[in-house]
C-alpha cells in the first residue's frame, strides 16, 4: 500500500487517501482480503490525525471497497472483475461530473472539452 499526501493540493487529506487506496484496490494492486494496517498506525506514519484516517476508511467502506471485522481490522472487499469495472466507472463518473461542472462555468463547449481530454490522455 502506498499513500502520498500533499498538504497544498486543496483536496482534503481524507479524500486523497480515499482516492489513492481505491485506485490501488480497483487496479488489483491490493487484492481481495488484504488486511489494511490499523488506523492509528497509518495516522502515526503519515503524521496526520487519527480522525482523518478514520474518515478515509469510512468512505472506503461506504463505497463497498473494504469491510471491517470486529476486533481484527479492515480488509479489501472481495470484488468480482465486473464489480471492479463498475466501481471504476462509478468513481471516474463522480470525479468527471465535478470537473464537468467546473468546465461549464468556464464556458467551454463539449467539443472543446473533448479535444482537451484527448490531448491530455495522449500526453
Amino acid at each position: 500500500m502506498e499513500i502520498v499526501i500533499s498538504n497544498t493540493s486543496g483536496t482534503p487529506i481524507y479524500q486523497q487517501i480515499f482516492e489513492q487506496i481505491s485506485a490501488q484496490i480497483i487496479k488489483g494492486e491490493l487484492p481481495s482480503d488484504t488486511s489494511l494496517p490499523p488506523i492509528r498506525t497509518v495516522a502515526k506514519e503519515l503524521r496526520i490525525s487519527v480522525i482523518t484516517v478514520k474518515r478515509a476508511w469510512e468512505e472506503l467502506e461506504h463505497a463497498g471497497l473494504i469491510y471491517t471485522m470486529a476486533g481484527k481490522g479492515c480488509f479489501v472487499a472481495p470484488l468480482q472483475p465486473n464489480a471492479l469495472d463498475e466501481k471504476r466507472s462509478q468513481l471516474a463518473g463522480e470525479k468527471l461530473a465535478k470537473d464537468m461542472a467546473y468546465y461549464k462555468t468556464l464556458g467551454l463547449s463539449l467539443e472543446e472539452i473533448i479535444a482537451m481530454l484527448k490531448k491530455d490522455y495522449e500526453k
Binding site: 492509528r40 502515526k44 503524521r47 496526520i48 490525525s49 487519527v50
Partner: protein, 284 residues
C-alpha cells in the same frame, strides 16, 4: 471512554474570568488547546489540576471526579507547565530518584529506554541542558510512570522545528495504542494542523469551539472580495479586514451564499484565531 471531562469550569479574577468552560476528550486522541495570549489557556489547565482554586464547575479524569480522587488521578497523570523548573544545579539522576518514589507504577526500563532514545545524560544538570532537552526530560518522567493522560502547557514553544517534529512524533506514538490521550496548549497552530484530532479554542475566558479539527476547519471559510461586495455580506461575517483594494473576512460555511460571488478559501487555524480575536477587539 471519556478520559477527561471539564464541565462549566469557572474562575473569577478581578479583571479576567473563565466562564462555563466545558469540553471533553476521549481515550486515544490528541486535543490541541488554542487561544491568544491571555485567553485563559494556562488558567484553565491550572484550575483543572487544582493549582489555582476554581470557583465553579467539575473536572473528571480517567472516569473519576478530580476533587474527590486527586491523588489517585495524579498517579496516572503527566503534566508539564511552561519552563521546567527543576533544581538547576542538581544532577538529573538525583531528580529522577526523588520523582520515582511518588509513583506506584514507575518503570525503570521505560525510563532507561527513553533516556537513551533522547540521548539524555543522567549525570548532567538541568542548567546544562537546552530547553528542548529539558522538555524531553520532563516527558520521560511522565512516560516512565505510565501516565494515561498528558496535560501539557506550551510543550513545543521555544523548540526548533526539528525538535518540535520529534516531539509530535512522540505524541502520536503515545496515543497509538488507543488508550492514552494528550491535551496540549500551544499557539504554534501548524503543529496542530499536523497531528491534532480535536481542537478546543478559547478566547477571553470563553470556549468558542471544541470539536474535531477537520470539522472545525470545514465549518469556516475565508472570503475575499472588492469593497463593493463587502456591504451585502458584512452582517454575516465573523469579522473582516479591509484594505485599499478590497476586503477579506471569515464566515461560517453555512452562512455562505452562492450569490455572493466571492473568492472562497479554506482557512487555517491561525486565520480562525485572527478573525475571532478581531471580533473580540483583542488586537486594538
Amino acid at each position: 471512554m471519556e478520559i477527561l471531562s471539564v464541565q462549566n469550569l469557572s474562575k473569577l479574577y478581578p479583571k479576567f474570568d473563565l466562564k462555563d468552560v466545558s469540553f471533553s476528550l476521549e481515550q486515544g486522541f490528541i486535543m490541541g488547546f488554542i487561544g491568544s495570549n491571555g485567553a485563559g489557556k494556562t488558567t484553565t489547565l491550572k484550575s483543572m489540576l487544582g493549582m489555582v482554586h476554581k470557583d465553579g464547575g467539575t473536572v473528571s479524569m480517567l472516569g473519576m471526579d478530580f476533587d474527590q480522587h486527586e491523588l489517585e488521578i495524579k498517579q496516572h497523570l503527566g503534566f508539564m507547565f511552561g519552563g521546567v523548573d527543576y533544581y538547576a544545579k542538581t544532577k538529573i539522576r538525583s531528580i529522577t530518584e526523588v520523582v520515582r518514589r511518588f509513583y506506584r507504577e514507575w518503570d525503570d526500563s521505560i525510563y532507561q529506554k527513553y533516556m537513551k532514545r533522547f540521548a539524555l545524560d543522567e549525570s548532567k544538570r538541568p542548567s546544562e541542558l537546552s530547553s528542548g532537552m529539558r522538555i524531553k526530560y520532563s516527558l520521560v518522567l511522565a512516560l516512565s510512570h505510565r501516565a494515561k493522560l498528558l496535560l501539557l502547557d506550551e510543550p513545543t514553544s521555544g523548540l526548533d522545528p526539528v525538535a518540535r517534529d520529534n516531539l509530535l512524533e512522540l505524541f502520536q506514538e503515545f496515543i497509538e495504542d488507543g488508550e492514552r490521550s494528550i491535551l496540549f496548549s500551544t499557539h504554534i497552530t501548524s503543529d496542530l494542523e499536523k497531528c491534532a484530532d480535536y481542537i478546543t479554542y478559547i478566547e477571553n475566558g470563553r470556549i468558542i469551539e471544541s470539536r474535531t479539527k477537520d470539522d472545525l476547519l470545514q465549518a469556516y471559510r475565508l472570503v475575499k472580495g472588492t469593497s463593493e461586495q463587502l456591504a451585502p455580506v458584512q452582517a454575516r461575517l465573523i469579522a473582516n479586514k479591509t484594505h485599499a483594494y478590497g476586503f477579506s473576512g471569515l464566515i461560517k460555511t453555512t452562512d455562505l451564499e452562492s450569490a455572493d460571488h466571492l473568492e472562497i478559501e479554506a482557512p487555517t487555524l491561525e486565520d480562525i484565531m485572527i478573525y475571532y480575536a478581531k471580533k473580540e477587539g483583542l488586537n486594538e
